[in-house]
């Protein structure tokens, strides 16, 4: 019998064009996504004088620089940002690439749009000049972020050189506790294993909790794989995956669908397949999580306290903690629920999909925000769906701003930023120093927790809020 193989190995092997003796592999790229930050790569491509090898396999969408208050070119905050959006348009035209531009309902964050359009499919090898490309692995694909030089390489050759990463399986055991969302699960995993723990590894998430998750929840989990350093994150495709992909604009249909599904069913890791590293985590201890520091690994259950660096034996880690606490303007030992916030942001490629907005709206319904808060749908289609369901009214009635799709305050590149020293409750994926603006202090959490924080003006345990009537702290 053939050696049992991991899902990663199966997909990897089926994309090998050339295996060199020196360990480098040339891999075929099924689908390539570009966004408005990819302009360096197009300039590099122009320098080579080469065309795009497979224009039909490249999809482009502006997201990082797009305005969210109004969705016309003229709404861009300045000439420079407008130019970024225009540049992508020009590049797409010049190289004959599909673009979901401003004014197209399909426009949105590249990692929301790929799955939503059915561009992302099981068994694929996908790349994008963005580290959160790991998101797409949630549907059973190898998907990873690349740099600008590599983007130009993929445009020119539809292939990419890689050294095969090691494999890591993260198995979650036990039952998912009440009030724990996909975001809590991935934050808890990263807190447990560390921000660099998966460097050089392709991660597969396994166990009944992931199997029971919706496709959108899985996208949230895989999105943050990169925050543990992983090359990519994946979840085995199953009926949930197939049901999610079916009927989407770029998904196969008819006879092609049958063929595809038959193949997709062969993808999950074989029983007995071995991974270079196995990590087991008990889900029972996971609670709604928030980050207190400046790395996604600085996450704790909301019932916890800001850690005391003095408890840290390792000098470098102690210094890092001290610095993070200082930057965040916190005091060791203070209760996380005593942290007051200035702004709340619900959106991003981690938590900007329809299910995220539904969960947040369920928390918000009938209550009022205590601080300025905004909802930025992950795509125009997410926005449209939310409006059909009346979620926009729930948010605006509560005092939230209801905005147009894009990356927005996740990274602040379009001008949506937090002021220096201000503190946000954010559903995005990075709490890095200055990520949401110079001096901005970011606390990462789930959409339910961010909604709860917006209502109470402080970090708070959504499990308590959802039981109690509106209190208006």
């Amino acid at each position: 019998m053939a050696q049992p193989r991991t899902m990663f190995d199966k997909i990897w092997e089926s994309h090998v064009i050339v295996d060199r003796d020196d360990g480098q592999t040339l891999l075929y790229v099924d689908r390539h996504l570009c966004h408005d930050g990819s302009f360096f790569a197009f300039d590099m491509l122009r320098d080579t004088g080469l065309p795009v090898r497979r224009p039909d396999q490249t999809f482009t969408v502006p997201d990082h620089y797009v305005p969210t208050r109004g969705h016309e070119l003229d709404d861009a905050v300045d000439e420079e940002r407008r130019e970024m959006i225009v540049k992508l348009d020009r590049n797409a035209k010049q190289f004959d690439l599909t673009i979901f531009g401003l004014g197209d309902k399909r426009q949105g964050i590249v990692h929301v749009v790929g799955p939503e359009q059915g561009i992302t499919q099981p068994g694929m090898l996908m790349v994008c000049g963005d580290s959160h490309t790991s998101t797409h692995g949630a549907l059973g694909a190898i998907a990873f972020g690349i740099g600008a030089s590599e983007v130009s390489h993929v445009l020119a050759t539809q292939s990419i050189w890689q050294r095969k990463p090691k494999t890591m399986r993260i198995t979650l055991t036990g039952a998912r506790p009440f009030g724990v969302l996909a975001k809590d699960v991935i934050l808890a995993i990263i807190a447990r294993i560390g921000a660099g723990a998966a460097l050089g590894h392709a991660v597969e998430y396994a166990g009944p909790i992931f199997a029971a998750m919706s496709a959108e929840e899985r996208l949230t989990v895989c999105n943050m794989s990169i925050e543990a350093g992983a090359r990519c994150g994946m979840i085995a495709p199953d009926e949930t995956t197939f049901a999610y992909v079916k009927g989407r604009p770029y998904a196969p249909a008819g006879e092609a669908w049958q063929k595809a599904v038959a193949y997709w069913k062969t993808l999950p890791s074989d029983p007995g397949a071995t991974f270079d590293k196995e990590v087991g985590i008990a889900a029972d201890d996971i609670a709604p999580m928030v980050t207190w520091g400046t790395s996604p690994e600085d996450a704790l259950p909301i019932t916890g306290q800001v850690p005391d660096p003095a408890d840290e034996a390792d000098a470098a880690r102690r210094a890092a903690k001290e610095k993070a606490i200082d930057y965040m303007g916190l005091v060791p030992g203070m209760k996380l629920t005593d942290i007051r916030i200035d702004k709340a942001f619900i959106g991003s490629c981690t938590n900007g999909r329809i299910e995220d907005l539904r969960i947040a709206a369920a928390v918000v319904k009938g209550r009022r925000v205590a601080v300025p808060a905004m909802v930025v749908p992950g795509s125009g289609l997410v926005k449209e769906q939310a409006e059909k369901e009346g979620l926009d009214r729930v948010f605006t009635d509560a005092g939230f701003e209801w905005l147009e799709s894009g990356c927005s305050m996740c990274v602040g590149m379009n001008g949506d930023t937090i002021d220096p020293g201000e503190r946000s409750a954010s559903t995005s994926n990075r709490n890095f120093v200055g990520r949401q603006g110079p001096g901005a202090r970011t606390h990462l959490m789930s959409p339910a927790m961010a909604a709860a924080a917006a209502l109470s003006g402080r970090l708070c345990d959504v499990r308590e809020l959802s039981l109690a009537p509106s209190e208006g702290d």
Partner: protein
């Protein structure tokens, strides 16, 4: 790409861990053209400069012995986070051609090679020791020889390092990947022909 063979230069000890690429270059500077006359100021911009543009004297690159540094010795998980290649552009604009750390963000690691910057992975102990030696003699030089894969610390100790043979070859020759890949044009075409038949659902 400018070839890399050997480098003797001032090395700066950078003690932080998990230095993300948002730190190396803030995202609001990513839209700037590489020709921008101030590109060198983008490196670690918010750590290095006050809001009025004046230097923060505490920041190590602003200290006299390290102003000409071209080698950076960091802690673990250097260059994690965003895939922005401009992080490497900003290092290069300051003359950096080598970064040494016990681990790197994978995408940053690849971006370095693609721009002729050599990232060197060493053990946690070695990285700590190299930094300690540099702190002990501020402004000291280190030497990196790519062909024999050696680096010499501030105290004269020589270390061996690993480098991917393919990457090494490209660095030594100054080769860019696209040119190399085009030599495999026949293989790519053969792959595509077969693949399009086997995976017909991908090609409606």
């Amino acid at each position: 790409m400018e070839p890399f063979t050997s480098l003797t230069a001032t090395a700066v000890p950078f003690d932080e861990v998990n230095v993300d690429t948002d730190q190396i270059i803030p995202s609001r500077l990513m839209r700037k053209p590489r020709e921008d006359a101030n590109y060198h100021t983008f490196l670690f911009h918010d750590l290095r400069y006050n809001e009025d543009g004046s230097e923060k004297p505490d920041f190590i690159l602003n200290q006299a012995p390290y102003r000409d540094a071209r080698i950076l010795v960091a802690g673990h998980n250097f260059g994690c986070g965003s895939s922005r290649e401009v992080a490497v552009f900003a290092l290069m604009a300051n003359g950096f051609r080598a970064v040494i750390a016990s681990s790197f963000g994978d995408i940053f690691f690849g971006n370095c090679f693609n721009n002729g910057v050599l990232p060197i992975r060493v053990t946690e102990e070695t990285a700590a020791r190299l930094r300690a030696d540099l702190h002990a003699s501020p402004g000291a030089s280190m030497t990196i020889e790519l062909e024999p894969q050696t680096l010499t610390g501030a105290d004269g100790t020589e270390y061996q390092f690993d480098v991917d043979p393919f990457r090494k070859h490209c660095l030594l020759e100054g080769l860019d990947a696209i040119g190399l890949t085009l030599e495999y044009e026949n293989e790519i075409e053969a792959f595509e022909d077969r693949y399009r038949q086997e995976r017909s659902w991908l090609y409606p």
